[in-house]
């Protein structure tokens, strides 16, 4: 059920900050973002919620992303299933589950467990294990 406790697959309108924006930047706008990971315990930087941006314009140049199946788009209110939507996986926003931005009024739907478990999870795992685009580059605080 939608509430203020984000779970894997939930989509919220979220003030996403892109990696290409300068450090300390604020979000240009709220955009639909998927809770890709909700850890039971926080990771080293204190974050336990990892958000991925959803867009219709693809992912940033040089980045990576997943095309979201139409059936999954239909699960999210406010998204047009006739358009191709992308989940940017090469970058993310990290936060904590008690953040005030996870308001029930911002909840838009939830991707299926099947999509999250069989498509998103292996992709993220491969990025973590095979990454190394920048050695030791931990999450940079944006503000």
């Amino acid at each position: 059920m939608p509430d203020s406790n984000p779970q894997i697959g939930d989509v919220y309108y979220y003030p996403y900050v892109w990696n290409c924006q300068f450090q300390g930047a604020v979000a240009e706008k709220d955009r639909p973002c998927c809770v890709a990971i909700r850890l039971q315990t926080s990771f080293k930087d204190g974050c336990n919620v990892f958000m991925l941006a959803i867009s219709t314009t693809g992912f940033p140049e040089g980045g990576m992303g997943l095309e979201i199946p139409t059936d999954e788009i239909r699960r999210i209110s406010g998204l047009n299933a006739s358009q191709t939507h992308w989940l940017t996986t090469s970058e993310d926003n990290r936060t904590i589950h008690t953040s005030p931005v996870f308001d029930p009024s911002e909840y838009r739907g939830t991707f299926s467990n099947d999509f999250m478990k069989n498509t998103v999870f292996p992709h993220i795992k491969a990025l973590v294990l095979g990454g190394g685009m920048k050695e030791g580059g931990a999450a940079a605080p944006s503000r």
Partner: protein, 69 residues
């Protein structure tokens, strides 16, 4: 009113109507004039930039999280 004869008795005939499937979409309007609310806990990161020494621990946490789905 339609009447039908059932076992020599006239009864009101009320044909069953087809069940109409009603789907209520849960759409909540966004609050009016809502400014972009910044997330005070937000950090920008990248899975591919996970420090090599943290990868195993992070993947274990990931597997634990997705096992619950």
């Amino acid at each position: 009113m339609n009447m039908v004869c059932v076992s020599t008795d006239w009864r009101v005939h009320a044909p069953r109507r087809a069940v109409i499937e009603v789907r209520q979409e849960r759409v909540r309007p966004r609050p009016a004039n809502r400014a972009v609310a910044n997330d005070p806990h937000q950090k920008v990161g990248s899975f591919a930039e996970t420090a090599p020494e943290d990868r195993e621990e992070f993947v274990a946490l990931l597997e634990e999280a997705f096992a619950g789905l």
